[in-house]
């Protein structure tokens, strides 16, 4: 089956006095139907800009400079602004990290859900929309939905607000849900509830999900496919089981080593030295080279291509797999 979403050679840049600064730099990804793609990376790796590029919501002075975003074969970058408005919320919906900033504080939540539905259905009566809004709240397991419907965002807990956002996002039965750090601001028990809900809703509706997160635990729990991003590029991608069982890119290794684990005692965490390079001073070759312990002179020459290291598993590293680079000892 062909994938639902295909991103090809996407490049998003920000204009500056010193020329274009890339935030997303030549990214190829695909999202299978009914599955979840997890995008992992630290702040500044371009994971949020990637999702905003798909939605064509890149803030000025940024713009998508090159590439294609194919949703069911249709290039979203070719659509008119009016056409794109039908896609947003209709076929592709998005939820964000902080539900409080995404909800309007002066309107009851029910009204806001109805507003989202109205944007895609001008014919339905208000009564009909209210019923559908209530059903949407029920579906995201908000208890006493009828009472909650007329409450304001500040009267709800963080977890409830995120449920409202999900209800709103799913109101028009999108094919793709982009969830940008949906549980980062939530407590761990509430995070577990929301992830559980997202998984059930995916099973019910067959939608695809792009899950953007910095938490490797969340990715392991939710994603079928994983893409690890670093400084605007994909460092490694493959199925979740493959990435965790056989990580190839040194950056992926560093991330795995940085996370304390409950099933292991380690005297010291394997931290990655240094920090992510700023997008206006990117290394010419491999962008991870300055922090990489396996780096050799050749890493500085040119950006490494994303190559297939195992079936369906790609890594952008000329030293991968690291155990074959054992001239290290020298």
């Amino acid at each position: 089956m062909n994938p639902l979403l295909e991103i090809q050679g996407l490049r998003t840049v920000f204009r500056s006095a010193n020329g274009d600064i890339p935030a997303v730099d030549g990214v190829d990804l695909s999202v299978p139907r009914g599955k979840t793609l997890g995008i992992v990376g630290e702040s500044g790796c371009g994971k949020s800009m990637l999702s905003l590029s798909v939605m064509r919501l890149v803030p000025r002075p940024g713009r998508v400079a090159a590439g294609r975003v194919l949703l069911d074969g249709q290039n979203l970058l070719d659509l008119s602004e009016a056409g794109m408005r039908q896609v947003r919320g209709g076929q592709v919906a998005m939820i964000f990290q902080e539900p409080m900033t995404s909800l309007n504080p002066v309107h009851p939540i029910g009204l806001q859900i109805m507003e989202a539905m109205r944007a895609h259905d001008t014919k339905a009566s208000n009564k009909e929309l209210r019923e559908r809004g209530l059903a949407a709240l029920d579906r995201v397991r908000i208890p006493a939905a009828a009472r909650r419907f007329d409450e304001f965002p500040h009267q709800l807990s963080g977890g409830m607000r995120q449920r409202v956002m999900i209800a709103m996002a799913l109101a028009c039965k999108p094919k793709l849900l982009i969830a940008d750090e949906p549980t980062t601001a939530l407590d761990v028990t509430v995070q577990a509830q929301i992830l559980d809900l997202l998984r059930d809703l995916q099973m019910e509706t067959g939608m695809s999900i792009i899950l953007i997160t910095h938490d490797l635990g969340v990715v392991a729990e939710m994603a079928d496919e994983v893409a690890v991003m670093y400084a605007g590029r994909v460092a490694e991608r493959g199925t979740a089981s493959e990435i965790f069982a056989s990580p190839q890119h040194p950056y992926t290794l560093g991330l795995l080593g940085s996370v304390p684990r409950l099933d292991e005692e380690r005297a010291e965490l394997l931290a990655i030295e240094g920090a992510v390079p700023p997008p206006f001073a990117l290394p010419k070759g491999c962008r991870f080279e300055p922090r990489c312990p396996f780096a050799i002179a050749a890493c500085r020459n040119a950006p490494p291509p994303l190559e297939e290291v195992a079936p369906g598993h790609y890594a952008a590293c000329i030293r991968a797999p690291v155990e074959h680079s054992l001239d290290l000892a020298a």
Partner: protein, 355 residues
């Protein structure tokens, strides 16, 4: 081991008022409600819990940044009050969560780090400047960084500056209030390693406030779990993670997603939200969400009881609950573990070459 900090029955109630001119008290928020714990010299005690459980308020009460409603705090055997506060403030330091908000943007980093020494009248201008250079080295920054301003640093570097400032007056206890939760994963690991290294070198004690149990697992010697202003379980780290006895501790542990797809679907969400601390449930405060709730839990508040050496639990039925399935010790896949070992070796070689 000797006890460094002893907190007994610490309480902070905030009145809730209604009306502007004739404000009537209409309720009380029991932010911290009878919390007791002790920290030994050289030990790390972690307080964990979800937002609103009172863990940060507890930290502030220990520091006397806010006045407690009741209870006592003893530091090194001496009760903290008026005159003793000044010495306490030297011997107890704090590192805050937000490295952007906790540094003065108008001060050069060197002046920020020297300020606590100045306040406590330690050293001369020259000796303080030398000490600043030494401190910067200790936290992995360079001497020339003293001349720079906070905005020139990344989040991880700012947290290092915050740690250097805390170390400046040679404290015995450092209260770390979510010191790494605002940082990226790779930077978080650097700062956690730094805190552990400093503890080894200077015999520091930490009161470590956190919500991330994996970080706590790595840092703490003992753990206290808070829920709605009260400690529900306290135990040595091994016991908390291998044999948690309170249903809330168990719920917290089973809610953590592991970085391992082989364990997918084992996360068990706990229903409901934390109730409002203004109107805490009767009896056991956890009874509204507890999967093992009985009638007695709704009526009678459970006290902390010692059920295993060093393990105290506030649950009527802790002994008769079904056993907890601890995280199996399967760790990382062998291939990943081998590559990680290579990474560690290569990193050490690179560091040796640079030195």
């Amino acid at each position: 081991m000797t006890t460094l900090l002893e907190v007994e029955n610490l309480t902070k109630h905030y009145p809730v008022k209604k009306g502007v001119v004739l404000a009537r008290q209409v309720g009380t928020v029991r932010a911290v409600d009878g919390v007791s714990f002790r920290i030994e010299r050289g030990e790390t005690l972690a307080i964990v819990g979800e937002s609103g459980c009172g863990k940060s308020t507890t930290a502030r009460l220990v520091l006397r940044l806010i006045e407690p409603t009741g209870g006592t705090v003893r530091f090194d055997g001496q009760e903290i009050s008026g005159a003793a506060l000044r010495t306490l403030r030297r011997r107890v330091q704090v590192v805050f969560q937000d490295p952007y908000a906790s540094l003065n943007p108008r001060l050069r980093v060197g002046d920020t780090i020297a300020e606590p020494m100045e306040v406590h009248g330690i050293g001369t201008r020259e000796s303080r400047a030398a000490r600043v250079k030494e401190l910067l080295g200790l936290v992995g920054l360079a001497p020339f960084h003293a001349q720079r301003y906070p905005h020139e640093f990344s989040g991880g570097q700012r947290q290092r500056i915050g740690i250097a400032r805390a170390l400046a007056v040679q404290p015995e206890l450092i209260i770390c209030d979510e010191p790494v939760s605002a940082l990226d994963v790779s930077i978080q690991a650097q700062v956690v390693n730094l805190l552990k290294d400093l503890q080894r070198r200077f015999g520091l004690s930490y009161l470590f406030i956190a919500h991330d149990l994996a970080v706590v697992h790595h840092m703490a010697d003992r753990v206290a779990v808070m829920y709605l202003g009260q400690i529900v379980e306290t135990a040595p780290k091994r016991a908390i993670f291998d044999r948690p006895m309170h249903p809330y501790t168990r719920a917290l542990l089973s809610a953590i997603p592991h970085p391992d797809p082989r364990r997918r679907g084992m996360v068990k969400p706990l229903g409901g939200d934390v109730p409002s601390p203004m109107n805490p449930p009767s009896g056991c405060r956890f009874h509204t969400r507890c999967p093992f709730v009985q009638d007695r839990c709704k009526a009678e508040m459970p006290m902390l009881r010692e059920l295993a050496p060093g393990q105290q639990v506030a649950c009527h039925f802790a002994e008769v609950l079904p056993p907890h399935e601890a995280v199996a010790e399967n760790g990382m896949s062998p291939v990943a573990a081998q590559r990680l070992a290579l990474y560690a070796a290569a990193k050490a070689r690179k560091a040796a070459k640079a030195a």
